[in-house]
Symmetry: C2
Subunit: 375 residues, 2 copies
Amino acid sequence: MNQAFQPFTPQARTLMGPGPSDVHPRVLKALGQTTIGHLDPQFVQLMDHVKTGLQYALKTQNPLTMAISAPGSAGMEACFVNLIEPGDKVIVCQNGVFGGRMRENVLRCGGQAIMIEDPWGQPTDIQKVADALQQHPDAKALAFVHAETSTGVRNDAKALCALAKQFDCLTIVDAVTSLGGIELAVDDWQIDALYSGTQKCLSCVPGLSPVTFSQAAIDTIKQRKHPVQSWFLDMDLVMGYWGEGAKRAYHHTAPVNSIYALHESLCILHEEGLENAWQRHQTLHNALKQGLEGLGLSLLVDEQYRLPQLNSVVIPDGVDDALVRSRLLNEFNLEIGAGLGALAGKIWRIGLMGYACRQDNIDYCLDALGKVLNR
Amino acid sequence: MNQAFQPFTPQARTLMGPGPSDVHPRVLKALGQTTIGHLDPQFVQLMDHVKTGLQYALKTQNPLTMAISAPGSAGMEACFVNLIEPGDKVIVCQNGVFGGRMRENVLRCGGQAIMIEDPWGQPTDIQKVADALQQHPDAKALAFVHAETSTGVRNDAKALCALAKQFDCLTIVDAVTSLGGIELAVDDWQIDALYSGTQKCLSCVPGLSPVTFSQAAIDTIKQRKHPVQSWFLDMDLVMGYWGEGAKRAYHHTAPVNSIYALHESLCILHEEGLENAWQRHQTLHNALKQGLEGLGLSLLVDEQYRLPQLNSVVIPDGVDDALVRSRLLNEFNLEIGAGLGALAGKIWRIGLMGYACRQDNIDYCLDALGKVLNR
């Protein structure tokens, strides 16, 4: 019993796994500031600033842009429970863990999921999606993952959305790992509903999920025949809380300090410039790749659709996956990620996200890997 | 645009509203510590410690005791979506805002809500509940709010649970404002599902919802005929993440830093002693009450079922509610709460919760109120 009530002081780590990634020191400082009320005029104004910051990061003018008060999985659920009603058909692309989770969400909304499956490590095949849209003209939405954190693959969000729009289909996009790390343009690409996370390329603490909804998405929500099955995630109610000006109907108590942190991370992104941040991820990915090749290691995913911020490294034959990761953690305080599902034991996932995406981190990681692998 | 990207430094407030309440400085310090991975062995151990701490605070041995990674409204939803299936009948007691929210949850689960309504400011009438249980022997659960934050009323949780058990009914209890402030004994009272919040008498930041489920509740979940409508709140999946030892199946990314904060707040509660904390709330409530009476102000709720941690003060005739609150905030940096719903404009809600429940806060509040009211 007593051990449970000892003060907890975490041993610092270098976070180069699939997330959370290293949190910027300025973000931690903002996080620990004095808590104010969630209806305090100061906080209401901060919510407006966070909205502006998210609109900047997402390249959108959508008024319905905000942070859900819960992690990315809840953001995913917010998109599905608001847009999908019983009987609705959704085309879901799966080429990793998170497409499967989208399917689960469709089913739990009483919807029908038309699955487009591609091998893990490969991108979604656009032709297969075109065929499915042709075959299911009544599909309400196309759902896919922009940056598949479980494999390191970039799906072609721009092309997938353009295709969906030809068929008058709503688009639901998982941008948990893409936001802030690679090009993403909600309005230009005509994304209707998008959710992300704070603990990846925004260098913020985990626990919030930025979301945005287009006018078409809002119209769809307003025309629902059934109430949204989640009270907590009902955007019609959440809108009243995050909405314009004086309205601010009490819905739930926002995680005030986490919003401080998100705001600071958006300030940092704005200072660097969104396009510069994308470029930094690409440039440093190239540096990491060269270093890994120097150690005789190769990447799983083809360059053409490889994510710079999530590097799937093929584990060489005869190397003990778990032992390497545990030595990196225990001897170097360095966290890298394991493979998931079909890729468990076959890859490591090295994240280069946000503040963790720095040359000194790359040098440190390559040095540690070299020592542990005796290369 | 540019204003949105200016650093945010909150003006400190004294938080004596309905929550969030003043956060303990040690909790803020814990919150701002370096972020580690949510699967890091250090963090996995911390989750165990938080579970132990919550078991202590809730007086329960329930193994399924944890913090939902979202605010109290999500904790409420977690209780309902896991236990209630389409067609289930739930007796819901309403004598304030939060009973109404429970009803919403029942309906969104496809259940039927049998409402027991009592006036705001009065406790739930036990006889009416007994009659309803008699009349609806097929009711699956009795749901009620222990401490009604919107009115300052304590419902008799012990008696309500004992009654429900006579009719073999599950009990679902809202303990958002009661946990840490007044007597609460999950096992002794035979509570089956309970949710709380961190931003009230635990003096922690908002954003997490402690929950606990009895064995009977777990059995009910395991015997469900329909999948839980929420993926994020599906306890069967969440159990795998918060469960014993090595399992720890990846479900979502826990809000790591908020868990640091919750742990520290549980350490502080344990240092003081749970019963001592209850006593402090009662003693200081008496001090506040005396002071308010000295200013000619009276409390809405009868002493017999009045909450010490949430004091509903009747606004005297001719006093401008909004002006008083805004002067307290702007001139004294003191936040007190407005009335909600039927009590809007009729009461102020003065919170004495957790770290905010101190003699110096009471003195400060009485002094400020006296000045603003010219008394």
